[in-house]
């Protein structure tokens, strides 16, 4: 989350420090390999995430792992699952990563952490201003919820956890149909025209369902939905729609300024919608 996901990172750090949760970055973590690694080799697709997890287990044996990216989540969780259920694979992977890995701790996605009862309570206590009436479409993406065997998500068609978190900010989440439709981010480079249509129909359904902004829990989804909206405007004649990470809305509701979360770094102008919602809230504050 260092480069393209700048706002997401800054906002997450802001929110976590406010509610007193310390995040420890895994020392010398490496890329999980995303779609490419397991496309080339099953072993590589598991060994890459396993190396980061094994490092975490070695350095911070008491800590669970959390990731803010849906694709990392799927890969890390699969590695955890594989180590726990397949002894032969465990042997092979440990050899490749040259480290022991027992998968003692859990891998969570960011939504899991925010949905914990104690975290939710802490967030409630830190909300300073309400994003009154801001209409939000929560986009979960595929890999935060599927495959069910790996994620254990209870509802893969109409999940609710992000909606409940966003509701804490006073924003109003809309009922829409594309919460877990694939945006095709994995192929945004090598099959760009198809991916473009996939993200466009997600944007369209969100707008038709009354949303003013879309909120994601993954930098890849976020980038893919946000980056190509020029074409969306030109081709569909619709207006563009700002895309935020879940942390950004929480941070703003907790009092973060535009600078705190690098609001101007958004591809789609994002400040206006937030400003309007803050004006509507009690006292009428500015971002």
């Amino acid at each position: 989350m260092e480069s393209t996901a700048k706002s997401y990172r800054l906002a997450t750090e802001y929110v976590m420090s406010r509610i007193g949760v310390e995040l420890v970055e895994i020392e010398d973590w490496n890329c999980c390999g995303a779609t490419s690694a397991h496309t080339l080799s099953e072993l590589m697709g598991i060994a890459l995430p396993a190396r980061s997890l094994a490092t975490a287990e070695l350095k911070e044996p008491e800590l669970d792992i959390v990731t803010g990216c849906a694709s990392c989540y799927a890969r890390l969780r699969l590695a955890m699952h594989k180590i726990r259920t397949d002894k032969a694979a465990k042997y092979l992977i440990e050899n490749v990563i040259d480290m022991p890995y027992e998968a003692r701790r859990e891998v969570y996605n960011f939504l899991d952490v925010l949905s914990r009862e104690d975290v939710t309570e802490a967030i409630k206590g830190k909300i300073k201003r309400k994003l009154e009436g801001l209409k939000v479409a929560c986009y979960y993406g595929c890999l935060n919820v599927r495959p069910a065997l790996i994620t254990g998500a209870p509802d893969r068609e109409n999940p609710q956890s992000m909606d409940a978190i966003i509701a804490l900010t006073g924003a109003e989440t809309v009922d829409w149909a594309f919460k877990t439709e694939c945006c095709g981010a994995a192929h945004q480079n090598d099959a760009a025209s198809v991916t473009r249509d996939l993200s466009w129909r997600i944007l369209k359904n969100a707008q038709l369902s009354g949303a003013e902004v879309i909120v994601t829990a993954c930098p890849m989804c976020n980038l893919n939905l946000e980056m190509r909206q020029d074409g969306y405007r030109k081709n569909t004649g619709r207006s563009s729609i700002p895309v935020f990470s879940v942390s950004e809305l929480l941070a703003v509701a907790m009092g973060a300024s535009a600078r705190h979360i690098a609001l101007d770094a958004h591809h789609v102008p994002a400040a206006k919608a937030l400003a309007a919602a803050l004006r509507r809230s009690e006292g009428g504050v500015a971002i």
Partner: protein, 659 residues
């Protein structure tokens, strides 16, 4: 010395093509006690049976071993044959050399060897057989039919018309069941109400039928011919003895709740008749929703009733009655699709109807008086999508089975839409079209010619966009993705057994299959009976079926009941457990182990030395015992023995094989 006759059946080539009959005959002739051995092409045929009978008198045989098919197939046939020969029908053993030998083996030599062994075991066992005699039990000439849908109504009418008393029990406040909710019936399109309401009126008026609505079975004891059933009459809060059904009480009730009969498409008051044509045509109060019964202030209905029928103090009562036979006709319900199919909106979209909701919509007596309109805005749809197999043929999310009636009523729904709203576009998403029934394929053809477009593929997702329902799927005949924007979607959902079927079958001792449908005694030859003597089944409680099949099965069950009730007493199987009281310690292990509640402890007078004492011993009720043998293997002292399968007989068989 016994004189045993051994008869080997070829069963055409079923047995003889694998097992060599000559080897069996040769082996049999060597066995002690065997006075005669012969083979024949079809032992069960008339000449085959005559051959056995002739041999009995000719060779003075006193017991018979037949090596043939499974005893489940023809044991009864051969017992009947023995009746007029002077040999007790239980001096017969069947060696199963077909199902357990020739049908499952290919190596002829080894199969013949095994057949010889099976035959030797039977010969050994029969040397210890003893004559058994059936007992008779009296029969209560009254039937209980559980469930007042079309199956229960038909069964009750048939039994009553044959002159027997029937109690027809219904959980709801009116008979009629699902058929009363339907509009038209396929493939003839006759109005469901027109053909079912006269039958409902008939059961209400029949002198031999006692209608018990708002009732449930609470307890069952006894056995075939002699059941004692506890029935809970739920409080109605309206005295049906006086009520004329004028309907005045319903007019001012302040409560409005979703109507069960209209499946949430309209509301009803708390004092209500299930539907206008209800039988009995009298209201009840829904205590969950009545303002007064919930502790509030009201009492309007009582004030309005000119005859003073309303009684807020009414309570549930239990009535006990005796029956000779019981028919299960509890029917089905549709699966709760919203909890199964998130991809179809999980119940969020108002304009997605279940098939039964559409029946109410298109029914002239329904909430829209038969106008096909969208629940959301009351507008007529221009495009309708019908999705079949929702919950059926889907082991992952729903039921693995096909619900059988949906293909036909989907075609009917399409036909009705095209008839009432000409020009509407109707798309039917299907996987296969199944029309095995008289006139069914022709009906499907007609629906296609009416203009319904059949699209082969299962819909993957339905969502709302711009006031329409977008149905995405594959046209698998084209091999392309398709997306249809519809104004209304009808999901033809799977059938599943009615709630409470597990409890009811447990009370009756009847078995259920893996999907909770009531298990028939034999899928082909005893489709209207359960394994429990005297308990029969009719209609969709056994599995999904349409109205013609339901009615046919109901009449079949009725015929079985009539056959039973026509006798004044009946024979019971003598192959049941017997207690040797001297050996019995009265420990009672058998009482708990018996699945049929046939074993009880009985206090008897006995002597202990010179002292007179009272002690408890096991006692087997010959009407209830099904001869399963569970008690005999649990008995620690060996006091219980299964007649026809005594321990000594079984051991003879073991010796024959192992020594």
């Amino acid at each position: 010395m016994s004189r045993i006759g051994v008869f080997v059946c070829h069963c055409g080539t079923n047995i003889a093509s694998v097992v060599d009959p000559d080897k069996l005959i040769a082996a049999a002739r060597e066995l002690p006690g065997v006075a005669y051995a012969a083979d024949y092409k079809y032992m069960c045929s008339e000449p085959g049976q005559q051959m056995i009978k002739d041999s009995i008198s000719e060779h003075g045989l006193d017991r018979i071993v037949i090596a043939s098919c499974s005893p489940r197939m023809h044991e009864t046939t051969f017992r009947k044959m023995l009746k007029n020969t002077g040999i007790n029908p239980y001096m017969l053993e069947i060696a199963n050399i077909r199902e357990q030998c020739s049908w499952v083996h290919v190596d002829k030599d080894r199969a013949s060897e095994k057949a010889v062994n099976l035959m030797r075991m039977a010969v050994s066992k029969i040397s210890k057989n003893e004559p058994l005699y059936a007992q008779t039990i009296p029969i209560t000439k009254k039937a209980l039919v559980i469930g007042g849908g079309i199956a229960g109504i038909q069964a009750a009418l048939d039994i009553a018309d044959a002159g027997h008393e029937v109690v027809l029990l219904e959980r709801e406040s009116s008979v009629g069941g699902k058929m009363a909710m339907l509009d038209k019936t396929f493939p003839t399109l006759d109005c469901s109400a027109c053909i079912s309401t006269p039958k409902m009126v008939d059961v209400g008026a029949h002198p031999n039928i006692t209608l018990m609505t708002s009732c449930e079975v609470e307890s069952v004891s006894g056995y075939i011919g002699n059941f004692e059933v506890g029935i809970k009459q739920k409080a109605r809060y309206v005295n049906h003895d006086i009520c004329t059904g004028c309907g005045l009480c319903e007019t001012k009730c302040p409560v409005k709740v979703e109507s069960e009969f209209n499946l949430g498409l309209s509301t009803r008051p708390a004092i209500y008749k299930l539907f206008p044509q209800a039988v009995p045509s009298k209201p009840i109060i829904d205590k969950e929703n009545c303002r007064l019964l919930k502790g509030g202030k009201c009492g309007i209905c009582a004030k309005l009733c000119p005859l003073g029928c309303v009684n807020y103090e009414d309570e549930d009562r239990t009535i006990t009655d005796n029956f000779g036979a019981i028919v299960i006709a509890t029917g089905y319900q549709l699966v709760d699709w919203p909890s199964m199919y998130g991809e179809y909106g999980g119940g969020r979209y108002k304009d997605i109807l279940s098939g039964l909701q559409f029946e109410r919509t298109v029914n002239a007596a329904g909430p829209t008086e038969g106008h096909i309109v969208r629940p959301s805005d009351g507008k007529e749809p221009e495009t309708v999508v019908i999705v079949k197999c929702v919950g059926s043929r889907d082991p992952n999310k729903g039921k693995s089975y096909c619900s059988r009636a949906c293909c036909m009523y989907a075609a009917k729904h399409a036909h009705q839409i095209l008839e009432k709203l000409p020009g509407t576009r109707v798309f039917i998403f299907y996987i296969d079209v199944r029309t095995p029934g008289k006139g069914y394929e022709e009906f499907y053809d007609q629906t296609r010619m009416d203009g319904a477009v059949y699209v082969r593929g299962r819909v993957s997702k339905i969502y709302e966009e711009e006031g329409q329902l977008v149905c995405r799927g594959e046209d698998s005949l084209l091999g392309e993705q398709v997306s249809v924007k519809a104004d209304m979607v009808i999901l033809e959902t799977a059938m599943e057994p009615s709630p409470g079927i597990a409890e009811l079958t447990s009370l009756l001792g009847a078995a259920r299959d893996v999907n909770n449908w009531v298990q028939e005694a034999h899928p082909k030859l005893r489709p209207a009976e359960t394994q429990v003597g005297g308990v029969f089944l009719a209609g969709t409680c056994q599995g999904p079926k349409d109205i013609p099949d339901t009615v046919a099965q109901a009449s079949a069950a009725a015929a079985k009941v009539i056959g039973l009730l026509n006798k004044s007493e009946m024979e019971t199987s003598p192959m049941i457990s017997a207690v040797e009281r001297d050996k019995c310690s009265g420990c009672g292990v058998c009482v708990g182990i018996c699945p049929y509640k046939a074993v009880t402890l009985l206090e008897i007078d006995d002597r202990h030395g010179a002292k007179r004492i009272k002690r408890e011993v096991a006692n087997v009720n010959s009407g209830l015992c099904q001869g399963c043998g569970a008690c005999t293997s649990a008995c620690r002292t060996g006091a219980l023995d299964l007649l026809g399968f005594r321990n000594k007989q079984i051991l003879e068989e073991v010796d024959a094989l192992c020594l």
